[in-house]
Amino acid sequence: MAEYDLTQTIIPYCDRHLVFPLLAHLAESELFPVGQVQAAQYELAKGTNMVDYAVSLFEQLHPDEEVPPEFVGKRESALSTNERLQQEAQDVLNVIENPEVAQALRQDKNQNLQYLKEHYNVTLEQINALYNFGQFQYTYGNYSGAADYLYHFRVLSTDPDLTLSAHWGKLACDILTGKWDIALEELNTLREVVDSRSPSHPAFSTGTSPADPALTQLHSRTWLLHWSLFVYYNHREGRTLLLETFLSPAYLNTIQTSCPWVLRYLAAAAVLSRKASSTSGSSVSSRVRHSIREVVKIIQMEEYQYQDPITSFLRELYVEFDFEAAQRELSKAEHVVGNDFFLSEFKDDFLDNARYLISEAYCRIHQRIDIADLSERLNLSRDEGEKWVVNLIRETRMGSDAKIDLGKNVIEINRPPQPIYQTVIEKTRGLAFRTQALGAAMARTQGVHSEQPAVVEAAR
């Protein structure tokens, strides 16, 4: 199963600290030799200021060896730096935590700076100290503290680059402390920032200099996709949101261009959110409702770049309609999901939903189904299968069409064809609205050309 493990692919797109949980998971799942994983953990920790952790890892790794002396020095310097930075940051923090100041602060950052400078003699450098201290705290693992400082810094700072960096830092902190609600919020703001960075995608002819905004944006988006996995697979409504985000054109393109392996998580999310789609509440967008169809298309298209049991499962089921192969892939996917850092929690859920998908497709295509056969397709025993089928019929809308004939041990499905009037309604639905939008757009364009953005809004 190690060949389907994505940890190595994902690591380059994560922050050093975000990798710790990944490695910890690997150590548990025992896909790789423990020694190797521990060595990796040690190498990872060595680069941070988490000296004690590194030392303990070292001791684990080499029980008989002396701890390298540089750790002592490193520890001391880390402590002194901490001291110094804290001193610097404390001044600002004192000012900011003053309730008077908190009240006086407004939306306008420049004005705030002015105010702070006039009344409390706080300069820009001092505010940057907040950033430095926050970053330092992060390096030795005090994530919640770091999150605080970075938050304050972001409120005050005007430097766009540092603010962006603080955004990333804060997101990492929130992820590592496990505050998923806050992390989600943070993720959304960060996404906005990233999306707004380059307004227009330059044509090919306008240059591919190293500082190409389109390229940087692609990178940021790739990172964001990876980081967001932490949030989306831990937050309550994460899967739906994940579909929403990942299926938006910009991020879909990012996946297709730079990180096709994320498709696994997209596919898994699509499977997992089946319930949401089948209940078809008005709250979920059509993007989520049709997510499976969309995802299958993309999987098919990116087949040449990436495939694993999860994507192959969907492909066998919805492209080839080969139920046997789908079932084979499903049993493989079960392992993969179980071993995946993000997906392991959802293993049962995934299996459950996948079975639903299989049986749904199976029932739609077949007229008479042998229950034993179906159970086999679903990797279930006969009794379980029967129970499962009954539940299925009860839960899904096919209730009225499908009947179980226990005498012959088959399910009979009689789906009356859709009445004509309904198809006509289906087809003409939305035409009026589209025409209206057309009309609105026409009316606007007769005005000035610069009003076009407004037209877009109106049409929506």
Binding site: H201, F204, S205, T208, D322, Q367, I413, I420, K427, A441
Partner: protein
Amino acid sequence: MSRFFRKADDSDSDSESSSEEELMSSDDEAPKAAASTTKPAMSRFLRSAGDDSDSESESESESEEESMSEDEEKGKKKSRFLRTEDSDEESDEDEGKRVVKSARDKRLEEMEASGKQMDNALKINDWVAISNEFDKLVRMVQRQQNLAEPVPPFYLRQLQTLESSLNAALAKEKEAKKKMNASNARALTAMKQKVKKVMKEYEIDLKKFQEDPEAFEREFNASVSTEVPAAKPKKKKAVDEEDEGDEEFKTVGKGGKSYQFTPETILKNLQAVQEARGKKNTDRAEQIRILEKLLEVAVTSYQQIRVLLALISARFDYNSSVSSYMPIELWTSAQKEVDQLVGILVRNPKYAIQETTEDYDELVERSPETEKDAIVLVRGSIISFVDRLDDEFTKSLQHIDPHGTEYVDRLKDEKSLYCTICRAQTLYEQTKQDDPLGRVIMRRLEHIYSKPDAVVQALESAVSASDIKPSITFSQSSTKQLIHSLCIHLYKSGNSLLRTRAMLSHIYHYALHNDFHTARDMLLMSHLQESVHSADVATQILYNRTVVQVGLSAFRVGLIRESQQILQDIFATQRVKELLAQGVHQRYQVLTPEQEKAERQRQLPFHMHINTELLEAAFLVSSMLVEIPLLASIENEEQKRKTISKSFRRLLDFADRQVFTGPPESTRDHIMQASRALQDGEWEKCRDLVQGIKIWSLMPEAASVKEMLTKRIQEEGLRTYLFTYAPHYSTLSLSLLSRTFSLPLRGVTSIVSKMIWNEELSASLDHATGVLVFHRVEVMRSHQLAQVLADKLNTMVEQNEKALDQKLGNAANWNDRGDGQKGDKRGEQTQERRRGGERRGGVRGGARGGRGARFAQGLGSQMPGAQRNRG
């Protein structure tokens, strides 16, 4: 009076040219020449007597020397000299013709003569005559200067007098306007302008002259007399060696006799040749010969470089007409010389050729030691030579009949040309000139991007055999690598045109190697389809070629649907050949001759062509595989659905109307009959017909392609069968289907399931008995009509949206409602990307973006525009 003078003028100008032609010796008479400069200016009539005697005495010695020369020449010359024998009688009618004198001497005299006439004309205020004389004088002086002789003081003096008298005349004219007639007045003003211009030209000399006329004159005489003796000793043997300096001289080049050039005079000779370049009467062949000789004697690198530069340009000049190509021998030698030039430059980094340099004295020998940066900069441009070589090569291929051996022979030269290009690349890599380097690499890329591996290997092996190698060579294992590294280099360059072309070539190469996905992704990511309209025609052609090649690669790897969609665009225009620049044929538009000429120049040489018949076969077969099942399903629903491929449908209709169908001959016949067979469910017949197409043999990996086609035919045959015969069955055994179409049962189940899932077939499977159960839906007339109406409404709204889209431009996605109404309406990019996976709906989506129209507009609308610009 004036008439008389003018007549004299005319004869003068005649005699001038003829006398120059006749000049045989100059320097033997140098002392006399020096003397004659001081001779007082005489009128022609007065002079002729004295001169004749000169020529008589001269002629004897001349004829002796002449006798050594070639027979033909001799005869010609002899007769002339013979004529001089009785010059006394002739002199009156044919004055000056036989006067054999030093060239310089002669010119000076002529100048003085015309000066005299001008003086005379001045006296009577005849400005027309003055103007004529003056023109002549200026011409003569200019020629004098071409030979690097100093300006005669006499001329300057004349200028001064002219100016003063001009001023006087103008002043007088102002006072009494009536006095002059119109033509005279016009001549006067013209003169004023001319004199002004000339004065400006000789400003420095004039000033010097004004300051000290005596000294100037002395200097002039000195320079004349010193030059001559210096030249004398080495020119004893040849009679007419000065000729190469005299561009008017045409009867040179005596067969076996070699010129004697010495390294010292090279630069001077070179300059003379360069002055003559582009003049009307210059004999280009002669110039080339002279330069070749010069090259033989050139010793220093500097001389070699200079001579080579001149020689290569002279070779390119040889053929001035745009329509015909450079003679192949000339091309070959030019190519060798470029090689040589690059070789010199690579070996001597102290020399550099640049398009712009500081001015330097053309006549002075230079070496790295004399230059301040220790680098000798020479004006010239190797990149333009390489460009020209390449262009001429292409041009010759365009003109040679591609089916003859000559073409093949010519094609063999590509190897050496490729080597030259690589050498130039080495040079520019060494000198780090990025701009020309980019151009050279582009040239190199253009030679290899469309070639199969074996050919590229042959070319590259020639390069690696040469002594000068560029940094990017074939050593990196595969052509893909080579192309990749070349393209990477171009992507980094600043020139957006080069980048675009490199990108397209790169994509083409990927497509050629059946790497369809990479090619497609690159093509879509480049966003070229949005901007290609504004590109130049050559780039558009390359774009079309690339797209077509991508389509073919999709076909080869078995992605029939994709292939059909891609090729559809270009076939819809019905101008495939034209769009690929593989033939001119306009059925609908009439072009002006210029347009047609421009068109012809754009044509690709034959060996670069993408075989259109193969292309058509691929397109029609894929259309068949897509269209026939669709057609079958249409009849089911008794409604006309949008056709996917109009051109295929048209052909099919045409074939249907035939009363009698004979055995298939052309590719089209094969495919049409195959389509009929497929419609009838006879997949085996269809397969045989499709595989019987001969053109497949031109496709690489023909066997695997045929195998793939067989599989597709089986599948699509099954689908067609189901569509066509579903109404006649209520159940159908899957195993029967599997047997009929030789497909595995699982495959059949899969296909049938897919059709049920996609609601193409209203049926369901009965697992227990292994049959397919059809659900017949009886549709009432009113129901049917309602459905048709709904569909029509849909199309109407879509049409309206499309119209508005076009009006607003694609940029304003006013109807991009994201997920609101139609989930699948996204930005163009995703639509394009998804093109591959999408079904019928996607096809419509793709067409909405206007891709179909792109080809049609692409070249079509662009071409007249471009030509208008040109014209």
